[in-house]
Amino acid sequence: MSRFAKRFAELKAQDKKAFIPFTLLGFPTVETSKGILKTLIDAKPAALELGFPFSDPVADGPVIQAAVTETLANGYKLPHAFESIAYARSLDADIPIGVLVYYNTILSEGADAFFQQLKNTGADACLIADLPPEEAEEVKPSADLAGIELIFIVSPLTSADRFASFSQYAGAFLYVVSRLGITGTEARYDSRLQELIGTIRQHSDLPLCVGFGISTPEHIQQMKVVGFDGMITGSRIIQVIEEEAKGNGSLADYLATMMQSV
């Protein structure tokens, strides 16, 4: 049983939901990012979602784009991402770790080598932001060979007949976007979410985690009511890290608040 499957089964048995924080690997610098990973793991979230910085993240909003630009300017290179994943794994042997990557990063390494390094450093699953299921065959054999599950995105516009193409590739959980658009803190959820869950459930038994615009305990409450198994917070964490660096608030406190609400 994979770490994700095991963790979601445990949560279900306890009637709990998953809180999954996201941060960018190497942000804002390779050194400080390690402290951030430790803070995240110390908060005991259900899982981690870790992003590989890519210069042109079209599926992400301005917060993450700016964070990537800063990280690259601070000297980040690809080996730093793998080192950071290995560090996170060294802190917690059981926490499921998913990574978010743009396809060009995988191509720069070669798919076989990329997924093997993910596995070697202790990651469990991988979401490729710009690889739709139509093209997933290009990486699926490499991911399978290494034992890395692929995570896919479902949007409120994803039609029922597209789910069929997901199911043969998808693992870990389905990442449901709460609204049309890019990542960010704006909480303007799509009115079709409840309906969407019903449609997905006819095609997949994977846990459903929602992201985009989840930044407060109230948002988590709302998404629990809608029926999601987990909630992913990304852009807001990047902002909290930036604010903490300026002496405002603390990431540990923010994570504790979010954890309480799940």
Binding site: A59, N104, D130, L131, P132, F152, I153, T158
Partner: protein, 391 residues
Amino acid sequence: MKTLGKFGRFGGCYAPESLMPALEELEAAFLDIQNDDAFQAEFHDLLQHYAGRPTAMYHAKNLSQQLGGAQIWFKREDLLHGGAHKTNNAIGQALLAKRMGKSRLIAETGAGQHGVATAMAGAMMGMPTEIYMGAIDVKRQAPNVLRMELLGAKVNAVESGGKTLKDAINDAMRDWIANTHNTHYLIGTVAGPHPFPQMVKYFHQVIGIEARQQIIAQAGRLPDAVLACVGGGSNAIGIFQGFMDDTDVKLIGVEPAGHGVHTDFHGAVLAKGTFGVLQGMKSLMLQTDDGQVLNTHSISAGLDYPSVGPEHAYLQEIGRASYVSATDEEALEGFKIVSRSEGILPALESSHALWEAIRLAPTLPKDTILLVNLSGRGDKDLATVREALGG
């Protein structure tokens, strides 16, 4: 998707899931209009009476005589309404958007020519239009910013990344992802996810179709080579398309070498790029060895792009087209020579292709024909030229 729009190992549809339904819808509409008489009639009527097609084919006799070798001919896309070939595609996609029930247009622009073309189409068809333009380009192409605003478009200066064309495309895509229900993203070059490379080529193939008929009628035969500048590569694909099956006609694309292809300041993607995925497509691109996309440099904002349309990468790979480059200095020299000899101020983008023709002509027999796509007019570049010439 009916197809994935591959050109050999290039092209494809590498887009976030949130865009896939919109791309499927667009592909269906694009396939539909190709056999729709009413759409074709309206499109060609607008190309003729609004945009001014066919554009002229001109034998640059002074220039040819001065160089003492091959005969140089210009396909005068600079005479198209708006001042560049971009209008073909803007009208085509705006009509398609309207037919799909979209009420709003967005576009990226580098030099501003595609932004102007989209703003014109938006104004003419009554569709609110927003243009994304890198903050650096907003400054260096100020006259085109004013033109877009006068045409009623909103111009958003993009402050992220390198603040040029690539970053404008990122922000336009982000807008589209959030607003696919009412918005069409009118991409200005033969790049991006399928079906854009095929669709933009389709709307620009009129350049090549006309050019082939005209050169046969006026010169009595096909050209020996067709030359065009290549940034994303839309004008080049448009004219190449007319001669694709004429295997004796050489197709030559000219990339921006900036300060030189051996420096860090150029945009010669086909010469120096490596395989990757950017902005929805597989193509060649300028990138670090760990896959971060590099910023480019060219004196012409319209060629300042770190990747290239996937079909060009394919044409190079199969050997059907060849690609060379011209530096900023060489493009300026081409600009000056053509201005003086023919009384035509070419765009700095087009001046890259003109330079290659000027370089080749003296080495070739007098009955050789070089056809250059003069893709745009140079009025927008006056400030850049003045600065470069030290005025």
